[in-house]
């Protein structure tokens, strides 16, 4: 039983395309996140949802749009993909908004834009 699962694991696509990454957690957590890890392994938060409500929206291009149909799912849709969007995208969840709980991460989606 995977706690935080992301699909797809790998995604190769051409510039200008629109793609989605799905994330599901079966831990009963209230809060979910999207992080981007660049080629230098630097991790940066993109979005956070708590009980389907957006609570963190960092300076991310409008081409990125998160959607949370319920508190167990947080999907990421990317429009008009650019070369610079190539990265590993991690979904994570935590029991609450407080970071004292720590996160449970998914195994990542490696996006390559060609």
């Amino acid at each position: 039983d995977t706690a935080v699962s992301q699909t797809p694991k790998y995604l190769v696509t051409q510039m200008g395309n629109d793609k989605s990454i799905k994330c599901e957690q079966n831990l009963g957590h209230d809060t979910m996140y999207w992080y981007k890890q660049d080629s230098k392994k630097f991790l940066k938060i993109m979005f956070s949802y708590n009980n389907k409500e957006l609570i963190i929206n960092e300076t991310v291009p409008n081409r990125f749009s998160p959607k949370s149909p319920d508190k167990a799912h947080l999907n990421l849709h990317i429009n008009s993909l650019e070369l610079g969007d190539s990265a590993v995208y991690f979904c994570a969840s935590s029991p609450g908004q407080g970071f004292q709980y720590g996160y449970t991460f998914g195994s990542g989606t490696r996006l390559t834009v060609v």
């Binding site: 935080v4 230098k40 392994k41 630097f42 991790l43 940066k44 938060i45 956070s48 609570i55 963190i56 991690f90 994570a92 908004q97 970071f99 004292q100 720590g102 996160y103 449970t104 991460f105 998914g106 195994s107 990542g108």
Partner: protein, 113 residues
């Protein structure tokens, strides 16, 4: 603004030797402190965390870290490493009252036979 610095991008060490991975942070407010480990092609896994209380924190897989407020450091240690400890280690801080993690750039620990 807050920041996290991991001074060593790579640390090679022989099996059964001790290791210390360094982490320093900068913050104008109190923070929670964390270490995460990332094995190849996997997501991050929480190793340990400091919230309050004793400054020496023990985590999984025999790792421990010590919070030093005066030096704003949270170094990770293990007295004897195994080949299986080869991974990327990330230090992170969360300023109290915010909903953010700030991660360091990671330290690649390579354990040699």
């Amino acid at each position: 603004a807050q920041s996290v610095t991991q001074l060593d991008s790579q640390v090679p060490v022989f099996e059964e030797a001790p290791v210390e991975l360094r982490c320093n942070y900068s913050s104008s407010v109190s923070v929670y402190l964390f270490w995460y480990v990332q094995y190849p092609n996997q997501g991050l896994q929480l190793l340990l965390k400091y919230l309050s209380g004793s400054t020496l924190v023990k985590g999984i897989n025999g790792f421990e870290a010590e919070f030093n407020k005066s030096q704003t450091s949270f170094h990770l240690r293990k007295p004897s490493v195994h080949i299986s400890d080869t991974a990327e280690y990330f230090c992170a801080v969360s300023p109290r009252g915010t909903y953010k993690y700030i991660f360091g750039t990671g330290t690649r620990l390579k354990v040699l036979a």
